[in-house]
Subunit: 321 residues, 2 copies
Amino acid sequence: MEIKETTLETLEPKEFIADKIKEISSLVGDGLAVNALSGGVDSSVVTMLGFRALGKGLKTYFIENGLMRQDEPQKIVSLFKGLGVPVELFDARKQFFAALKGITDPEEKREAITQAFYKEVFGKLVKNSGAGFLLQGTNYTDIEETVAGIKRQHNILTQLGIDTVEQYGYTLIEPLIELRKPAVREIAKALGLPKEIYSRPPFPGPALAARVIGEATPERIEVVRKATKIIEEELSSTGAFQYLAILHEDKVTGIRNGKRDFGLQIEIRCWESSDAKTGSPTRLTYDILEGLAARITEDVPGVVSVTYNVTKKPPSTIEAV
Amino acid sequence: MEIKETTLETLEPKEFIADKIKEISSLVGDGLAVNALSGGVDSSVVTMLGFRALGKGLKTYFIENGLMRQDEPQKIVSLFKGLGVPVELFDARKQFFAALKGITDPEEKREAITQAFYKEVFGKLVKNSGAGFLLQGTNYTDIEETVAGIKRQHNILTQLGIDTVEQYGYTLIEPLIELRKPAVREIAKALGLPKEIYSRPPFPGPALAARVIGEATPERIEVVRKATKIIEEELSSTGAFQYLAILHEDKVTGIRNGKRDFGLQIEIRCWESSDAKTGSPTRLTYDILEGLAARITEDVPGVVSVTYNVTKKPPSTIEAV
């Protein structure tokens, strides 16, 4: 099935929301649907649409995969509780780290996360709940990049010819499939979601596992989580499209207290972009850059070196993994 | 033996030159000394001092180790020929790459180069020439960093308790041992060496092998050589203390002609420093940085991503390996 993009110019948020609520209602009927909320704008919009369409007919899970930002699971669950939407926190850290063990290739890593998420964790949750439908926030850019073979987005299934009913036991509903990120943000606003959600910087599906080059062990995820916290604190006021910390596998020579310290390197990326299709590095001042390097090398154990990516997309991509 | 620094403030270049010429003459006498010229300011000064002291009693080699900048060996030999100093080009590429094969640890890499240089290549050259002395440009910073255990400088032997007479068959003479780089540059000027030499950015002893994280194969050295050429062309006018390209071992996801390209990353470093003891990143404009990234990703095969190091020394070091 060819999917046609609904651009920001042609989007009518209220109409879109009404249409999607109707669509979801008629597909699920009296049945049960589940969805996974990550706190990103895509899954937040899907949660709201699903909840408005189905009420108690929607069961929303927050899957704690061990790869999230610091305190993220608790924050998001309580934010949605405040909006009247019940979300169940499901601890799946063990399953995800087991799936990631020993894997260094980016595509294999993404595949391991896909399998852990859809089959191991979600497959069982859906089966136990008896739901026949899975709502998810796949968007237009995800499909485009996967189909072009640039990067396997974790949430692409149907478009790759995967029969979810046969493989995982549920039907997939993807209400955002014709929208790019800026349009999704408009819908989020129109749904009354707070700014914290609708202006949230994109965070990849494989979460911090995509921010670690090489194996994503709990220890390495913790390093990049600390660096991510610092970068988000320091760069949130820039208004940049996206900003991220990447932990390299390469080690570099540093110096601590006059002694050699063969340590870790963190790469910072901060993007100007409107749609993630192309991008250029934000022209951060050197005061900001050196301040980031100083905080990261002081506060994140083992890090002796910090770089800033200065390549455009293309030939770079937004994320490294 | 405790070595005392002669600072830029107390240095009298003409007096220093006269003293060192006298010292070298009296040590070598009617004997034969050899030295290796790399084209860096240290070895260039040593070559001039040795030539003035010994004339035909000095045999100068340029060791082509396969790790130099593009066209460097030929350029340097002909520059010194123009100054009346004969230099013999010695091709030792095979020996160096054999010594580096399979080695990824920075310290082991440095040790392999030290052994290849002093034992394999120089040991034989000295033996064949019958020389009893080796002149070399070890400076004060080299010793300091090695003794502190930060980084094993390739040219540190005596200070680590290595008996060169016993191990390699020659006595070491180190006329620059009490000077740091800025003082060496003053001596170079006073010796009438051209600006190309006395204001030359420092280049590490292990040359491009120190600019490659992981194994230094001929292919990987060629990648970093191409990037180095671009960086030196674009940054020579900045007046920075040192600028360099580093090839990472980590691979990152890029995009070429709409398709995924899992490729290489080059890290750029450009330093403001007076003595290499401390340093901060040069505040290059984004036009320069993005221009470098564009040229490198276009002209150096396989490279999809370029970063700029924004960390101070300490906790970073000038070089990565």
